[in-house]
């Protein structure tokens, strides 16, 4: 398929661009395979380059022969284009519509993007699991790297290399994988050097209604406990939801079979509930009627801040277990690819000073989101303006970033990066020239040969010139555990987004 077929009108003159808080710009509109470009064709004036993949929804309306296209972007921007001529307008609108909903990943911009900068360090190799493992292998010999998932045969959403207890062999891992949702057997997520406690994550156990058990699974997670110690299992679903999951073959760890573990349920919402929350939030933010009353009730109705509070509370609880109680924890929800990752990664932000540096945070995203198989492709397919609600779209990653921002606001001097860094990550997760956030897991990324065919976001970000934009001038390394407040008074809305 050629892009040219989809572009009915490549160029229109005298188009007027309206953006909130900017003066209107008149210029020439061009459509390319991946971009919508508006240039005023004068020197020193900025041009608008918009990736088609950033477009969430478009509306068109006509007043006489003047057509107006309103483009709503995934990064919540709304821009308006006034196009003279009805036919041009219709052509442009249908071209944009087609180009922004390409269904083949290999037609996306990252596969065509050629970097204009010199690659100093290839981001695809910046954060290798082996290197990450070395960081704590000096402190403990109880863990090992396992290559059991080399061909993605054991668990399709796991990376080829995972960290597991040394005493458990690959054969046992294969058995455990059959007992966990999606083959996601418990793996190491974080090792707390201070006291040797760990965070593990997994999918739900497939106990079903008749209470199946798996000796290897019990052995695996018990292997992480020191003699006489107890651990905690944090289930990110409410007890009710977890019980219902049994009917579908899922379930939770029975206390009788895991006597050394105590289970805590911390309900975190998922999927379309989050998506609806985002839709309502953005709608409230865009409401132009200046009515204070309605704003607060709309904010409340969106429940966005409630979700933030739930996630942060669960993460604080996890960090508390590790650092204060000196107990290891296992975190899972249903699949272990969404709320589980929010909790494990936020707990690390709280516990581990390294994850509050730029490189450490990048490593965290690489490890806990990309490698861990958060389905970015599915979750970030649409944003707040889209009406076609798919079950798998959800702003899980955005919520995580918002939580990080909340902690950053409370500890403004403890982070090496600033708000812009978080916003940049959000934008690239939804639409990017880089291949980093394409695909749903490592297996898909391998099949797409992303490493060979696209650029890594990290290659671009980690250039000194770019990094300066994202550095927090107030940063002073804080080697301590930071304990954020979760009271509603402490959690404002993130205006940057």
């Amino acid at each position: 398929m050629e892009f040219a077929e989809l572009i009915k009108t490549p160029r229109v003159d005298n188009v007027v661009l309206h953006r909130p808080f900017y003066p209107a710009v008149e210029g020439t509109l061009c459509l390319t395979g991946h971009h919508l470009i508006l240039s005023s064709r004068q020197d020193n004036t900025e041009e608008l380059w918009l990736l088609h993949s950033n477009i969430d929804a478009i509306d068109k309306r006509f007043v006489g022969s003047l057509g107006t296209i309103i483009i709503k972007c995934k990064d919540f921007r709304i821009i308006q284009l006034d196009i003279p001529g009805m036919e041009e307008c219709l052509n442009i609108a249908s071209s944009i519509e087609a180009l922004s909903t390409l269904d083949s990943i290999t037609l996306m911009y990252p596969f065509f993007y050629r970097p204009m900068f010199e690659v100093i360090e290839d981001g695809w190799h910046s954060f290798l699991p082996e290197q990450e493992f070395e960081l704590y292998s000096s402190a403990t010999s109880e863990w090992r790297l396992s290559y059991v998932n080399k061909e993605f045969a054991v668990c399709p959403s796991y990376p080829p290399i995972v960290t597991v207890p040394k005493s458990i062999d690959d054969e046992a891992l294969r058995k455990v994988a059959t007992f966990r949702h999606g083959g996601r057997f418990p793996v190491l997520s974080y090792y707390h050097k201070k006291n040797g406690m760990v965070i593990m994550r997994s999918g739900q156990p497939l106990t079903g209604t008749n209470g199946r058990r798996c000796k290897e699974d019990e052995k695996l997670i018990n292997a992480t406990l020191r003699a006489g110690k107890r651990g905690y299992i944090i289930d990110t679903r409410s007890l009710n939801v977890a019980q219902q999951a049994r009917a579908k073959g899922g379930g939770f760890e029975q206390e009788a079979h895991y006597p050394q573990w105590r289970r805590i349920h911390k309900s975190i919402e998922r999927y379309h509930i989050l998506q609806e929350s985002l839709i309502k939030l953005v709608e409230a933010c865009n409401d132009q009627t200046h009515n204070m009353d309605r704003w607060l009730s709309k904010l409340e109705a969106s429940n966005w801040l409630t979700h933030i509070k739930e996630i942060l509370t669960a993460a604080c609880l996890a960090a508390q277990c590790i650092d204060r109680e000196g107990a290891s924890i296992l975190i899972h929800g249903t699949e272990g690819t969404d709320s589980t990752l929010q909790v494990t990664s936020l707990a690390q932000i709280i516990l581990e000073p390294r994850s509050r540096t730029i490189r450490g945070f990048e490593a965290l995203i690489e490890r806990e989101w990309l490698q861990a198989g958060h389905p970015f492709q599915q979750r970030c397919a649409q944003s707040a303006y889209c009406n076609t609600k798919q079950k798998w779209e959800a702003p899980v990653f955005l919520l995580f970033l918002d939580c990080v921002w909340q902690i950053l606001r409370q500890f403004p001097c403890s982070f090496e990066f600033n708000e812009n860094f978080l916003i940049m990550l959000f934008e690239h997760a939804y639409a990017s020239q880089f291949g980093t956030f394409l695909g749903n897991n490592e297996s898909e990324r391998c099949k797409l040969k992303l490493q060979q065919k696209t650029m890594s976001l990290w290659s671009w970000v980690n250039q000194p010139g770019e990094l300066s934009k994202f550095t927090n001038p107030l940063f002073e390394a804080n080697n301590l555990v930071i304990w954020p407040s979760v009271a509603p008074q402490s959690l404002p809305l993130w205006e940057g987004i």
């Binding site: 200046h290 204070m292 009730s297 904010l299 409340e300 801040l305 409370q410 500890f411 009271a487 008074q489």
Partner: protein
């Protein structure tokens, strides 16, 4: 002293608001001016001081097995819960405090006994620090349109106005007196702010006594005079800050608003700001929300919205923005009034002035603004903030709202204000504390009669002395955005107005950001300054050494080359040594506490604050302070191994997270 039934109670527990299971055991003292709680724990001996004048309400709750709880709510939004073992003691404390918190004579207030160890001269200097006649001169007055009128000499015309008043030159004494008879409480139109750039002005008054049909020629002439004083515009805005319904209701009582048919060339405008009773209830509702123990997000947002507080803040801001625009963009003069012209009018005039004039956004300028629009124009501080026992219906957070408006603006324009949040909070504190004489009484006349300036000290001098603590490190006087009028975005978004937890939850330390950017930047700034001084000193020294060297070489150069060389090397050494001395300085530096060296200071809201201000600055304390808020377990709790018992404990300990 005769009101104190029991000066000392032992074994009292001070309950921690965030984690009620944790309570500090100590001794409670009642003094003539303060309630003091001293912790028993020998290593801390933490002290909490509360001024009697800060006490808003005292509530004796039902006796429990542990003792008799006493809840003290303060006007600065601190909440103290004490548990007193003996019912009888509790009753005595309760009765004493009820009396102590409601003084009936001005002489009982703290400012008459407060002595900051300043001599008479220093005190007098303190009172002249803020000089309103200087301020009018700064505005460019008097000029050929405006003059100083002595019509209110000895408060003959209006007893709630000051003696120094600026009126249009064409307004004769006859017009003024005539107009004053047609205005509520004789508060006739006078100048509040003069905008030099285009001669437009903001004037203020009370409502006219128009009833349904009454009119007054002199009052109409007065408004004409205001219009003529601004040759650039052919009309005057008359802004009534009340909701239209309220203004119409006033007509039935013989008051009301200007009839556009009677006054030539006016544009009349209502701006619906609610009255003091609505505001009082709104604050009450919001504080109830703040007091909730571990509320859910919806509880909080719903409660906040239901209180209407932010809506009222927005209404005041909108009025200020309207006036600032009329003055700066349309070049029109504005007359502002409400009912009596001392609450909403003061709020709106001062917000508009703050938007228009960068001077009011400096430390001293802000003091001048409060002195002018609030103190001198007879805002009834005594009634509104309940300094003396009075009618509870008169109490209302009028100036609190103005201070919050300033904070909201500071959030929008972080570089436009010379002062920081702490400055606002301390001003709010002292409006209620009665430690300084500035905010006593209801008018200038009363203050003169009471000889306030001879008997008490001025807050402004005190704040000025400690101004280093109140500076905003981000302030840029030369930035294009901060010069002239502040321009808010044309379509103000609703999320512009935020809940100010720094004010209303300021005593719940756990909820505040743990690291202060302001303090950090101030520290960096100070450090830079020290380094620069150091550099200067070193350069001077280097110059001297080189001079000496030069002399030496002149003498010695022909004798031997090597000696010259060694001479230089010594000077090198001395330079290399100095930075090491310095590193000692820098080390001690980041832990500088904002209120250190401030022993006599009134700024120390409580002793507790003085001590805990240190941790705020240094990141090291995060661990302690943070953990205490998250878990209620005793400090040793974190260490013990999770045995069966500790598993049980967890339930209660984690209450904060689990129930949330």
């Amino acid at each position: 002293m005769e009101h104190i039934r029991t000066p000392k109670v032992e074994n009292v527990r001070l309950v921690d608001r965030v984690s009620p299971k944790k309570a500090a055991l100590g001794t409670l003292y009642l003094t003539a001016t303060h309630v003091i709680f001293v912790e028993n724990s020998p290593d801390t001996r933490k002290e909490t001081w509360i001024l009697h004048s800060q006490i808003s309400t005292i509530e004796k709750q039902a006796t429990t097995a542990t003792g008799c709880p006493l809840l003290i709510r303060c006007k600065n939004f601190q909440i103290i819960q004490l548990i007193i073992p003996q019912e009888r003691d509790c009753h005595d404390v309760y009765i004493s405090l009820i009396r102590l918190a409601r003084p009936v004579k001005y002489e009982e207030l703290y400012c008459f006994s407060f002595n900051p160890m300043l001599d008479k001269e220093e005190r007098e200097q303190g009172w002249v620090l803020i000089d309103l006649s200087e301020e009018y001169k700064r505005m460019g007055l008097p000029n050929h349109h405006w003059q100083l009128s002595d019509v209110n000499r000895d408060y003959r015309v209006c007893d709630s106005y000051p003696t120094e008043l600026y009126v249009p030159k064409s307004a004769t004494a006859h017009i003024i007196v005539g107009s004053s008879k047609f205005r509520s409480r004789r508060r006739f139109p006078v100048l509040s702010y003069y905008y030099k750039d285009n001669h437009a002005s903001i004037c203020r008054s009370s409502q006219p006594l128009s009833g349904f049909s009454a009119r007054c020629l002199e009052d109409e002439q007065m408004l004409q005079a205001i219009r003529k004083a601004n040759p650039g515009s052919d009309f005057v805005y008359v802004v009534d800050t009340r909701p239209k319904l309220n203004a119409m209701a006033n007509r039935a009582a013989g008051k009301g608003y200007e009839n556009e048919d009677n006054y030539s060339n006016i544009k009349f405008q209502f701006i619906g700001i609610e009255n003091i009773h609505v505001m009082r209830n709104s604050l009450q509702k919001m504080l109830e929300v703040c007091e909730l123990k571990s509320p859910s997000m919806s509880d909080f947002l719903w409660g906040l919205e239901n209180s209407g507080w932010l809506r009222h803040i927005k209404a005041i801001m909108d009025a200020g923005i309207f006036i600032a625009k009329a003055v700066s963009e349309e070049g029109a003069s504005v007359l502002v009034h409400c009912s009596d012209g001392w609450d909403r009018t003061a709020q709106v005039c001062s917000v508009a002035s703050l938007l228009l004039d960068p001077h009011y956004r400096t430390l001293k300028g802000f003091m001048v603004l409060i002195e002018k629009d609030w103190i001198s124009f007879g805002h009834k501080f005594n009634h509104r903030y309940g300094n003396l026992d009075g009618d509870p219906k008169e109490i209302s957070p009028v100036i609190d709202q103005f201070i919050e408006c300033v904070w909201q603006l500071m959030e929008q324009f972080p570089c436009a204000f010379e002062f920081n949040e702490r400055f606002l909070i301390h001003i709010q504190h002292h409006i209620y504390s009665c430690q300084f004489g500035n905010f006593l009484c209801n008018s200038q006349k009363e203050r003169r009669e009471l000889k306030i300036q001879e008997r008490t000290y001025s807050l402004w001098a005190h704040l000025w002395k400690n101004r280093a603590d109140y500076l905003n490190p981000l302030f840029r006087a030369d930035h294009s955005q901060t010069q002239g009028t502040l321009h808010l975005p044309t379509a103000p978004c609703n999320f512009m107005y935020k809940f100010w937890s720094g004010m209303y939850n300021r005593f719940e330390k756990g909820m505040q950001p743990r690291q202060s950017v302001t303090d950090y930047l101030m520290a960096v700034k100070e450090e830079t300054q020290q380094l620069e001084e150091e550099l200067e000193a070193l350069e001077e020294r280097l110059e001297k050494i080189q001079k000496v060297q030069l002399n030496c070489t002149k003498v010695k150069s022909k004798q031997s080359e090597p000696s010259k060389h060694s001479g230089f090397s010594t000077s090198d050494n001395s330079i290399a040594n100095t930075p090491q001395d310095y590193s000692g300085n820098t080390k001690s530096f980041p832990s500088r506490s904002p209120s250190q060296g401030d022993e006599d200071s009134a700024l120390i809201l409580t002793q507790d604050n003085l001590k805990s201000s240190d941790p705020d600055l240094s990141a090291n304390s995060d661990q302690e302070s943070g953990v205490e808020d998250l878990s209620c377990r005793s400090p040793s709790g974190g260490e013990h191994a999770p045995s069966e018992d500790s598993g049980k404990d967890r339930d209660s300990d984690e209450a904060v997270f689990l129930t949330a």
